[in-house]
């Protein structure tokens, strides 16, 4: 019987722990550290979102509500500590965010979980808008456009840890993230966790094995609210400022993408998605202004061709590997690599040229430097190389894809033969 912490799982856990402990030491740059902090926060947030989507089948368009309210609760707590000079260990402060998430989950979840499916999605969207609107309507509570700020260094902390340095802050985030991941993973192996899966698959049958699906959904929303609130608390401590953006629709949208890109069908999917999207957000954004555009392309392509996300892709290739077919498939990939790269290069060049052209101050001159070549976006001929790259790359990619499809059939048949 598989238990929660079988040997292989303990190994994964230990490896993960090692990674989060060592990661900040890999580069001394502040940039790297703040990236890691952001990844930690996003991981908890994305996993809490997937408690709803992946495990309970509830698509929430307003999950940022719990994240944002958790963040505001934490910053209020911190401000109150300064104002009334009472002390509370900052280490435990993310729990204030968790408590806020939990309480709002209890209050709002009661309304949202009355129905499942599209109705739930729409109600969550409505409540998300409502809360986001109130954040601007009550500047006393939410600080208006400027948001609320505070200072996480309060009284002397435990063992002299004041979270004055970003490295200490990182370990606070890492510690809480690790605990939350463990908690959310443990939840998958409980009666409620399994019944959430049952309700996701077939709410009617869940009712005919003695469970009220509405109550199962409600409890999951409340618990997910708690974890999202903890993530919000961490974000408040990390940035020492909370603005209305933390509970906005765009934050709710990003978390959907994180979970989806990583893969909602596997527990670890959102962890991967959170890391990848955060890196893209920060790294790609520092390279090009057009990053949301690429981000949109990536998301669309992934949802179209790999609805299971990265975790789904990995699982599929694991199956191929188990069937001894991975090598053959990889050969095909290798063949597709060059046309694929050509295609990508062409698309990126087109996007960048359009961007340069739109922002050019000199008429007739909009230069873009690619690999030492200068393309002038203001001249029609300047567009020729990337267009040719996309067309040729796309054509070749199609050829490879066709070849793969016909080969793919043989892969599938041999898979079936093995199973039989």
């Amino acid at each position: 019987m598989k238990t929660l912490f079988s040997r292989s799982r303990l190994l994964v856990l230990a490896a993960y722990l090692a990674v989060i402990v060592i990661a900040p030491l890999l580069s001394p740059k502040g940039y790297w550290l703040s990236l890691l902090c952001q990844i930690g926060i996003s991981t908890v947030f994305a996993l809490s979102f997937n408690m709803l989507l992946g495990q309970t089948g509830l698509l929430s368009f307003g999950h940022a509500v719990y994240f944002g309210l958790g963040a505001f609760a934490t910053i209020h707590f911190l401000r109150a500590m300064h104002e009334h000079s009472f002390s509370f260990p900052v280490t435990l402060l993310p729990l204030a965010g968790g408590a806020a998430g939990l309480l709002f989950g209890i209050a709002l979840g009661y309304v949202t979980t009355r129905r499942a499916g599209t109705t739930f999605a729409m109600i969550s969207l409505g409540i998300g808008e409502m809360v986001a609107a109130s954040s601007l309507m009550f500047p006393g509570l939410f600080g208006g456009e400027a948001g609320l700020s505070s200072n996480r260094m309060t009284s002397p902390g435990w063992f002299g840890i004041t979270y004055g340095s970003q490295l200490q802050m990182y370990y606070l985030i890492a510690g809480w993230a690790f605990l939350c991941i463990l908690g959310m993973f443990a939840l998958t192996d409980t009666p409620l966790g399994r019944m959430a899966n049952a309700v996701r698959d077939n709410p009617e049958r869940a009712e005919f094995v003695g469970y009220d699906p509405q109550w199962v959904r409600y409890l999951m929303v409340v618990l997910a609210g708690f974890f999202a609130g903890v993530a919000g608390g961490l974000t408040a401590l990390n940035y020492e400022i909370v603005t209305a953006e933390t509970l906005s629709a765009s934050t709710s949208g990003i978390v959907i993408m994180m979970a989806f890109v990583g893969g909602i069908g596997h527990f670890a999917g959102p962890i991967v998605g959170a890391a990848l999207i955060t890196v893209l957000q920060i790294v790609v954004a520092s390279v090009t202004e057009a990053w949301p555009f690429y981000f949109g392309i990536l998301f669309t392509v992934l949802v179209l061709y790999a609805p299971g996300g990265i975790a789904g892709i990995v699982a599929e290739h694991k199956r191929l590997y188990d069937a001894g077919q991975l090598g053959r498939v990889l050969q095909q990939y290798l063949l597709g690599l060059v046309p694929f790269a050509l295609c990508c290069l062409g698309i990126v060049t087109l996007v960048e040229m359009a961007y340069v052209l739109a922002n050019s101050s000199e008429p007739g001159n909009a230069p873009l430097h690619v690999f030492g070549v200068t393309l002038n976006a203001a001249r029609p001929l300047g567009w020729a190389p990337p267009v040719i790259a996309v067309v040729v790359g796309g054509f070749l990619l199609r050829l490879v894809a066709r070849r793969m499809a016909s080969r793919g059939e043989t892969v599938v048949t041999s898979l079936l033969q093995r199973q039989a």
Partner: protein, 252 residues
């Protein structure tokens, strides 16, 4: 005479202006195997949906083991010891066979909505689930996702989920529908085995199954029960022959 496991009094159900169930009185005794037969569209499945609270009754009352359960929700009926199967397999597709059955035993073992018990450590739940999986002959498929089971296997799983909670009153909606002859024989043996000592109410089209299995039979025609009795009595009832059985009955 034993107490009634199930008692329906003047139960009616209308969809819009059409009355489908038109005043059904029915008493099912404890530990009997009771079959409900009738032509297509007679309202057999609707009657099941009323008893199991899938639909609310329009009027009339339903008693389960002496307790009025009219107007309760399905999960409340389930918790009071009545469990049903569905004509079209109604299972948890993405869960394994084992998890399908384990989900169905959890409430009756008192775990409710617990998020503090480690599911994989709950020996009583796993053991009960495994015993049921063995009883329905799916031990080899224990870890298989329910969605990839064969039709007959899904039907067996459907019955497994239904009996898993240990309910004393079992409703089976066409347990042999769509099965081949040999599959039907297996299914009948299965039903007989797993409902031993329980009250069984079943809707069934296969007359050889009905007459082989049932202690008593009720005949439902156009939303009314026109006769109830032992298989021998039902065979003799002229109204039944006319209304429904006809030549099919003569062959049985």
């Amino acid at each position: 005479m034993t107490a009634a496991a199930l008692r329906l009094a003047n139960v009616r159900k209308s969809f819009g202006r059409t009355e489908i169930i038109r005043g059904v009185d029915l008493v099912v005794h404890e530990r009997e195997r009771h079959a409900i037969i009738g032509p297509n569209g007679a309202g057999k499945s609707t009657l099941f949906n009323l008893i199991s609270a899938r639909f609310p009754v329009t009027s009339g009352s339903i008693e389960l083991k002496g307790e009025d359960v009219t107007g309760l929700r399905p999960f409340q009926i389930q918790r009071r010891g009545l469990s049903r199967s569905f004509q079209i397999s109604n299972i948890f597709h993405n869960l394994s066979v084992f998890d399908n059955v384990r989900c169905a035993v959890l409430w009756s073992l008192g775990y409710r909505y617990s998020f503090w018990h480690r599911l994989s450590r709950l020996r009583d739940a796993s053991d009960r689930a495994d015993r049921i999986i063995e009883a329905i002959g799916l031990s080899r498929r224990r870890a298989t996702p329910a969605s990839v089971l064969s039709y007959a296997e899904q039907r067996a799983l459907e019955i497994g989920i239904t009996i898993a909670s240990g309910a004393e009153v079992i409703l089976l909606d066409e347990p042999t529908a769509g099965m081949s002859h040999s599959e039907t024989q297996d299914a009948v043996a299965l039903v007989r085995r797993v409902t031993e000592g329980k009250t069984l109410v079943m809707v069934e089209h296969d007359m050889s199954v009905v007459f082989g299995l049932a202690d008593r039979i009720s005949v439902l025609v156009y939303g009314q029960i026109i006769a109830t009795g032992t298989p021998a009595e039902i065979r003799q009832t002229p109204a039944v022959r006319e209304a429904y059985l006809g030549t099919e009955f003569a062959d049985a």
